[in-house]
């Protein structure tokens, strides 16, 4: 009997229609934990760099984190990994909700898909019974609708379904995978699922998940619950509401959107509207949101309620979380929040990433204004801002006309369109659309995270260290008082000395070395979360979360029986960090790709930026190209990587 893990993976070959139940190697958990770590190991071993995202040899892996299905609150992530059609690098996207725990209860740690089904199918996993079933009747159905239809078909309301919509079926590069209140939406993994002819995966599990040291584990879990309750009573003062508490940004709860609407850019990430949030808008938006929201809802075993059920007259109900309530409004320059909730309903059924997709549309209308795209490309498109966006969303998802080009995202669309269109795809890193945020002074910590983050999505790289200095020493002292989360006392000093202005302020403070330290800590927490299946909202993302580097080893030991301490955990993090880096450098990632959008900050410091990158690479044990060195890989017991990189000429023999 295994602890915490199920001990089996499902291997499903969609070309041949074969299903295998394969015992996992317990040794791998000791090296990579699980979730993202073991997903990456499979991709390294089995998907060589020649494999294109839409090749049958590309794998699509649905992994549960190591502690998913155990009583640890908030531990419910499905980690989906594949090769991204957007970036051609490794994609990993997480979803909360209920799917991963259900898979654990069904007796599996992962489902690994390969090949392509000639017909549209869905997979039904019910404990030991696994079937590939016809999904031709689900073709073109919405992602939410599909989940409901499958539950009815299987006559089981407790089946958890992850599904794609029309966008995934049509291999739109921003297609998501949707599941109840959650979605895995970044980097086009829904397109890979569609390419494989896989409409949905339905799971039902009624087996036990075991714990090695039950009493100890339960005490740790109870401490976390108590901490969450206490922490909810004590929001961090001096930061904006969505950063003050725990959880994903509480966008469904809070109606005050002054910060987002005035600091983020509208349109194609261009215009800041500094006077947007008037009394009148505030009242109107509050009313709209309160009417639309039927209930605040949580993921499996988590009290945080980051999502909401959204019900508006004249359309079917769906669920939403986070920032997507604003992205369509802001991209389309629509001041009525009702539009945001309504178009998001259609977009959720289509199954598209609510961050990138509105940006693509804003980019297209800018190209039209600039005369690079013409009225002919937009034949039949209404004139009003709302109508325009609905029209273009339909074209993109159906890949009709100009929509077929735009469906590949701003980077590839710009390449295709040419004529100077590239300059309009101005907000990408490594071909991936970024948040529409444009700022003044370079922030050295964020510079590093934007450049080097393998996740390519800042909200899933940042966290732990405040985003800005506190104005007064009293506030700083107050903040560090109960800051038990720091891996080392020095971080407190970094924060105490950080000023808004003067010598100890951005961009030269935190210094290069401090910035590298801070980024390493933030990354570490995300990598551990993604291996354990923990929601970032209770760990790596918010300030002062219940989980941290000091209690994680205890959780892992008590759940699995594996002996591990902070150093051991740090080594696993390094291993996973290097593994994913290696997958990407093997796929051609270079130092020159590691840069933020040119206009992200108005004030840039080229020399300092080079120093930051140099120092970061060095700290990681990478060469000046950002490639892990033979020595550092050897130290981590990963000679298999350096051998491969040497063979391919990415690391040179020395």
């Amino acid at each position: 009997m295994g602890y915490a893990e199920a001990g089996f993976n499902l291997e499903i070959d969609l070309t041949r229609g074969s299903i295998e139940r394969v015992p996992t190697d317990p040794g791998l958990s000791k090296l990579y934990l699980g979730g993202l770590g073991t997903n990456a190991k499979i991709l390294w071993d089995r998907v060589p760099p020649e494999v294109e995202p839409f090749a049958p040899e590309n794998l699509l892996i649905f992994g549960t984190g190591l502690l998913v299905g155990t009583p640890a609150p908030g531990c419910n992530r499905t980690i989906i990994s594949t090769i991204s059609p957007q970036t051609k690098l490794m994609a990993y996207s997480m979803m909360g909700g209920f799917w991963a725990p259900e898979l654990k209860y069904a007796g599996y740690d992962k489902v690994v898909f390969r090949g392509k089904s000639p017909e549209l199918v869905y997979v039904y996993i019910h404990n030991d019974k696994v079937e590939i079933r016809d999904a031709s009747h689900l073709r073109g159905k919405g992602a939410v609708e599909t989940q409901e239809l499958i539950r009815k078909e299987l006559k089981d309301p407790n089946v958890q379904v992850a599904a794609i919509g029309l966008a995934g079926e049509n291999r739109v590069f921003t297609a998501s995978i949707e599941q109840g209140r959650s979605s895995a939406s970044r980097l086009g993994i829904g397109a890979v699922m569609g390419d494989k002819g896989l409409k949905a995966i339905a799971v039902r599990g009624t087996k036990d998940v075991n714990i090695a040291k039950p009493a100890e584990y339960m005490e740790l879990c109870n401490d976390v619950l108590k901490y969450i309750s206490d922490r909810e009573e004590k929001p961090v003062p001096g930061v904006m509401p969505i950063l003050a508490g725990l959880g994903s940004p509480q966008e469904m709860l809070h109606t005050d959107e002054k910060w987002h609407t005035e600091n983020f850019s509208w349109g194609n990430s261009r215009t800041r509207r500094k006077e947007f949030w008037t009394k009148e808008i505030e009242e109107k938006w509050t009313e709209t949101q309160e009417n639309a929201r039927t209930r605040l809802i949580s993921c499996y075993n988590c009290p945080m309620k980051c999502g909401a059920i959204i019900s508006l007259p004249g359309m079917s109900t769906y669920m939403m979380k986070c920032f997507s309530k604003l992205t369509y409004n802001m991209a389309a320059f629509v001041d009525d929040l009702d539009f945001g909730f309504r178009i998001a309903q259609r977009a959720t059924e289509y199954g598209v990433d609510g961050f990138s997709t509105p940006q693509i549309m804003a980019f297209a209308f800018e190209l039209r204004e600039a005369g690079i795209l013409t009225d002919k490309d937009f034949e039949g498109c209404p004139d009003d801002n709302e109508g325009k966006f609905y029209w273009l969303l339909d074209r993109i998802v159906r890949r009709e006309g100009i929509g077929n080009i735009l469906a590949d995202g701003t980077h590839w669309a710009a390449q295709h369109i040419g004529n100077g269109a590239e300059a309009y795809a101005h907000n990408n890193i490594k071909k991936h659309e970024q948040l529409p945020l444009k700022l003044g002074m370079l922030n050295p910590i964020y510079f590093l995270m934007y450049c080097t983050g393998e996740k390519l999505n800042i909200t899933q790289i940042e966290g732990q260290f405040p985003q800005a200095p506190f104005p007064t020493m009293e506030e700083r002292e107050e903040f560090v008082k109960d800051w038990v989360h720091v891996p080392d006392e020095k971080f407190k000093q970094y924060l105490l000395d950080w000023e808004m202005r003067g010598e100890n302020s951005n961009p030269y403070y935190p210094t290069v070395d401090m910035s590298v330290d801070i980024v390493d800590w933030q990354e570490k927490m995300h990598y551990i979360d993604d291996a354990l299946g923990m929601c970032a909202g209770l760990s790596s993302f918010p300030l002062k979360p219940p989980y941290h580097i000091h209690n994680y080893p205890k959780f892992i030991s008590a759940a699995t029986g594996m002996e591990i301490d902070e150093d051991g955990l740090a080594t696993i993090y390094k291993r996973n960090r290097n593994l994913i880096r290696a997958i990407n450098v093997r796929r051609g990632l270079k130092r020159e790709d590691e840069k933020p959008p040119e206009d992200h900050w108005r004030k840039r410091f080229p020399e300092l930026e080079e120093q930051l990158l140099d120092a970061y690479y060095k700290f990681k044990g990478w060469n000046e190209q950002g490639v892990p060195t033979k020595e550092s890989l050897h130290e981590l017991g990963m000679d298999y990587i350096s051998e491969d990189l040497e063979k391919r000429g990415i690391l040179s023999y020395e």
Partner: protein, 176 residues
């Protein structure tokens, strides 16, 4: 029968506060695992969440008595514009459905109010306070309570017939 004051344990269920997290299911099953907390499996829980997000139905239901036969008539309730089936609101471990049965043996499950704990575990883990606990005094006629073993046996008898159960027990005791 004599009358006596009895403590009645009450869990108040405020469905409006439920966020659908199913922590109650998880912790109930963990608490009743043996050894305690050594495993969890919501299917073994004595509280289950009847859940249909699209219809905004979130209804935590506690396992009550075992029943050998399903109801002939099953009504529908409309509360706040939402339609519930009789079985949604019912606590029985009943042949009509999978709820409240041990997944491997099919034996009925029944909420025991976490006897011996200060506060029921599901209440403790429901930070949303959809479940709250109170105790109430009530005057009652005393009646013998069926133990867990008796409930289990009764359901086996109902399912397989008394003779078969007795034969099996006799056979098992011989094996010793």
């Amino acid at each position: 029968m004599s009358k006596a004051m009895k403590k009645v344990k009450v869990i108040k269920i405020d469905v409006d506060k439920c966020n659908g997290c199913r922590a109650c299911e998880l912790i109930c099953s963990a608490f009743h695992a043996s050894p305690k907390y050594s495993s969890n499996n919501p299917e073994r829980s004595r509280i289950r969440l009847i859940r249909d997000p699209i219809k905004d139905i979130y209804l935590p239901v506690y396992a009550g008595e075992y029943t050998p036969a399903e109801c002939t008539g099953r009504n529908k309730y409309v509360i706040d514009g939402k339609e519930y089936n009789e079985c949604d609101t019912c606590r029985a471990s009943c042949p009509a459905r999978d709820l409240f049965k041990e997944p491997d043996s099919g034996l009925p499950l029944k909420c025991d109010m976490c006897d011996g704990e200060e506060e029921p575990m599901c209440v403790k883990w429901c930070l949303a306070k959809a479940l709250t606990y109170e105790e109430r005094e009530e005057e009652r006629e005393e009646e013998p309570q069926l133990g867990e073993m008796e409930i289990g046996l009764e359901s086996l008898v109902n399912r397989h017939g008394l003779q078969k159960v007795m034969d099996t027990v006799a056979r098992l005791s011989k094996k010793g």
